[in-house]
Amino acid sequence: MYNFWAIFGIWMAAFLTLAIFSFLYKDNPFYKLAEHLYVGTSAGYMLIYTYFLTIKPMLIDPITKQQQFFLFIPAFFGIIMLTRWFPKIAWLSRWSIAFTIGIGTGLAITGSIQGILIPQIKGTLIALHGWNWTTLNNLLIIIGVISTLTYFYFSKAHKGVIGKTAKIGITYIMIAFGASFGYTVMGRISLLIGRMYFLFHDWIPLIH
């Protein structure tokens, strides 16, 4: 039993979908209307979302219910972040930005080393032994990593041995780009399948 609101909603969604698709024919008022509606509604969504999923649970509830009054300090830093709206006192927001950037850099340095460099280097330290396909694959991996790093090495001209290794490196990189290209095409097509399914299943039931 589809009640009235569900049917109305589907028709509204179908109208908005076709309005955006109309950009394929040419840029037109319908597309501009849908695009501006998208920007406006997502901004409205974010405003409500920020209150209910950020400010209320992390500030208002703890302060009112558990009397955690020291939370006024981060709340203060948060509010002066909004001084960017007023050019005269916008410089105040630099303190909060400095604090968040400081945390970000501290996490980035420790994360990059412990979370990326150590495991990725360790994954390439493979002793090659035993005549089987796995050893062959490991050899190709090691050559790939070393030659890719050589390609992005800028302190030596790409001549002689370094030049040849860099050439192998760009070959590996082009294979990787080809693979990413194929996967990206796959990803974009899936989005279209999703919209076509909506149009011809929920709206006009051609697909059952």
Partner: protein, 210 residues
């Protein structure tokens, strides 16, 4: 004065995070916990930053009747409808996120179609670019296109029907050569992150303060 204090704050906070990473003992462990919690709260406010400039810009456009001001009206109306629906749902259900609230109804039937269709456009652009722009003009581009074709056909069921080893070949390309090159690039990028973070921490890089 307006520059030295922020730079000092940045240096001290990143020092706290790095030191408490290595020293779990009393003062540092709790200092890290508190600063991470404060970071989360402040980051919550940054989500509001974009809203003001957006509403400000479009309301100016309406006031001065600049070309395309009608679309700005649509934008502001869309914004207002969501804020009102969210507030009402908040009072009725305690949260806007309740499954039967009007806020969720609007999300389902306005934001989902708009955003998913916006990105679905890309599939058309990729198809037309594939036809009109992707040329094997040198060995690199040829290599890229050949690998792309193998992976595109190998990763989908039709590849399996053409030749039953096709999926395994595509998987081999993904797991061995592609993985090795991506690892090389990943190592390069994380060295880049370390360098940029060091420059910001030591105040050499100050563009974030502009």
């Amino acid at each position: 004065m307006r520059r030295e204090i922020p730079l000092a704050i940045t240096f001290i906070t990143s020092l706290i995070i790095i030191v408490s990473f290595f020293i779990p003992h009393a003062p540092f462990g709790t200092m890290q916990e508190i600063s991470l919690k404060w970071y989360a709260i402040i980051a919550g406010f940054t989500m509001l930053l974009g809203v003001d400039s957006l509403i400000h810009m479009h309301s100016q456009k309406i006031k001065r009747k600049k070309s395309g001001w009608v679309y700005s009206v649509v934008l502001i109306v869309g914004f207002a409808v969501f804020v009102v629906a969210g507030t009402i749902s908040g009072f009725r259900y305690g949260t806007a996120m309740d499954i039967n609230s009007s806020f969720m109804y609007l999300y389902n039937y306005v934001i989902i179609p708009l955003q998913s269709t916006m990105f679905a456009l890309l599939s058309f652009f990729i198809a037309s670019a594939a036809y009109r722009a992707f040329r094997a003009r040198n060995l690199d581009a040829t290599l890229l296109l050949i690998t792309a074709v193998i992976v595109m056909i190998g990763r989908v069921p039709i590849g399996n029907q053409i030749w039953h080893n096709f999926p395994a070949i595509a998987e081999w390309i993904m797991a061995i050569p592609q993985m090795a090159a991506k690892r090389g690039i990943l190592i390069g990028i994380s060295l880049g992150y370390i360098a940029v973070s060091l420059r910001i921490m030591l105040g050499i890089e100050r563009s974030y303060l502009s």
